[in-house]
């Protein structure tokens, strides 16, 4: 890069980064290790003991698998809706002049409501309105949970949209819609992707709201919570481990694709010179 941080500073930065990563990764890696331990007592397995016993028994865990499906469906729907709604809210934010801060505060207010309260209150509202609990009610609850986060993330990415670009486009005859599609959207794409991922993960892991709003099919965190409280075999660690491994796989694949595209673009640029 063009910066010279100096060796000492560079080392410091990397040390902190590695420390941070270690702290984040200690639990999931530990869990992954435990899931290969065939013994009932969760602990690190000796190399000779490694076994896929709990993974093999995952197929029979209809309760866990059903809950996982439900969580994935809800998380995807939440992510899609939250991203779209937050994008609209962010666009509105920039169109507003005077009421801007009020709008910002209104959108982020739901963030501060404790999950227990929002879950129970929303459930009460639904019950009195005659709306039956189902996947949709959970999505509604999760939407309100994820939207403020997605909103702020998208707002942050809007910094790439310089007013000068929009003005130039307008001068060239583009109306609002064209400006949006050709200029704004491509520039905020990283923000949209981040917002999507964020909302997806927030919903996937959310427990308290889902408990109050769910229909008969519980979400995965709710089922895991129940199992941890009343007797579970280490199969829950295998479930966690499986999710971890699959997500590693997905992320690695996406990363590789991105890198490959970048390399193609780079070599294309080099050849063009």
């Amino acid at each position: 890069m063009m910066l010279r941080e100096g060796l000492a500073n560079r080392v410091l930065l990397w040390v902190v980064t590695v420390a941070g990563l270690l702290v984040i990764y200690a639990p999931p890696l530990y869990l992954l290790a435990i899931s290969f331990n065939p013994a009932l007592q969760p602990g690190l397995p000796r190399l000779s003991e490694l076994s896929l016993k709990w993974y093999a028994s995952l197929r029979q865990e209809t309760a866990l698998i059903g809950a996982l499906e439900q969580s994935l469906i809800i998380a995807t729907a939440t992510a899609v809706l939250a991203t779209i709604m937050s994008l609209l809210a962010a666009l509105a934010y920039f169109e507003l002049r005077a009421r801007r801060t009020a709008w910002l505060l209104a959108v982020i207010l739901p963030m501060f409501v404790p999950g227990v309260i929002q879950g129970l209150a929303l459930s009460a509202v639904f019950t009195r309105a005659g709306i039956k609990a189902s996947t949709l009610t959970v999505i509604a609850g999760h939407l309100l949970w994820a939207m403020p986060f997605a909103f702020i993330v998208i707002l942050t990415s809007f910094a790439a949209v310089r007013r000068s670009y929009l003005v130039a486009a307008a001068d060239l005859g583009a109306n609002w819609g064209r400006q949006f599609i050709d200029i704004t959207l491509p520039l905020v794409r990283p923000g949209l992707i981040s917002a999507f991922i964020f909302s997806f993960l927030l919903s996937l892991n959310e427990f308290t709201r889902a408990f109050y709003l769910a229909g008969r099919q519980n979400t995965l965190p709710v089922v895991l919570f129940g199992k941890m409280n009343s007797g579970a075999s280490p199969v829950i660690y295998a479930m966690s481990g499986a999710i971890f491994l699959i997500s590693v796989l997905c992320v690695v694949l996406i990363a590789l694709r991105f890198l490959w595209q970048a390399r193609v673009a780079d070599s294309g640029r080099r050849m063009a010179r």
Partner: protein, 392 residues
Amino acid sequence: MTKHVGMFASAQHSNMQRRDFLKLMGAGGAALSAGSLSWASRAAAQDAATVAFWATATLDIGDKWKAFATQNGVAPEFTDNGNDIGPVIARLAAGNANDLFDIGGFQGGAEKELARQGLIIPWDLTKIPNYESVWQWAKDIPYLKHDGKQYSIPTVVNADSIIYRPDKLGKVDSYGVIFDPKLKGRVAMEDAWINSAIFTAMYLKESENKPIVEPGNLTESELGLVMEFLIKHKKDGQFRTFWNGWEQGVQLVADQEVDAMTGWEPIVYEGRKRGLQVEYAAPVEGYEGWGNNTVLLKGAGDRGVTDTAHKFVNGLLGGFYGCELGQARGYLVPTDNNLTYAKAHPDEYKPDEVGKLAEHVKAKFAGKVYWQNTRPDNFQLYEEWWQKLRNA
């Protein structure tokens, strides 16, 4: 067995519509779900009448519900309610639980309140022939009836005391071990006043002769006495922690965090399965008795499935369920039907093990037992004191 509810869930679908709907969803769901085998098994089990059972995981028998369904003609859809009575009652009172579920299963004590609020309806014992076989002392549990009507059926009963490591502590026969200053930082109690207050009250009543009448239902002054005692010990650093939930409890014992703690008996069985030396104490002060009971939710009445519900509960007391629960978790359904069933099907369940479990629990209840109660008269005061304990 849990049911995958699609976008158009409505608990008012009749069984017929539910079956067709599920077949439709099954076709589409096969594309969605990871493995179509889960769908096939769910669709197949729809041939029996279904009932939605919302209960603590204590009452779950997992895969065996299918066998239960074939035997009894009722297929329950089990949904875990999280075991924390607070959110369960909140969801019944203000939330959607009555729209979704037909039968509830949770700790006893709240029946009076739920009945008063009209959230549960009485059982018709004439439709539950197996109720006859329930042991008398189980039928006599205080809070099952309200206003002369039977609001809950005792489904699982047990008596709790102390889990301890005999290799560290020798033989333990008193709750004094939990408050022994020599074991500072090496004991734990459950993070629930429902249990911990009773144990402490029992200890104070029996071993320190404090003026306590009913440990399960403390008066204001008795409660103050008990909680001050606990607060003092907490401030002294007596407790390593308060545990919350099965996995936490087992982990504390297994990982040497504590040498003794008050808790549930299956933790001992699980500990032994994991190769640890753990024992369950038979304290001189007595046991804490508790029951997980099944209640009939008002929603079931509204939807007209009460007959199926009665059939279901009858099945729970029929013997198969009791044998399975005993074998899987060491929990007991208080009826002799379990032994009858085991004797009739010795290839499935060993009659002497079933018999041993029954005798073991009966013996506990023959001695001193004080009943757990999720709703003592001063229950809001209990919470206030527990807050003080937390902040001490």
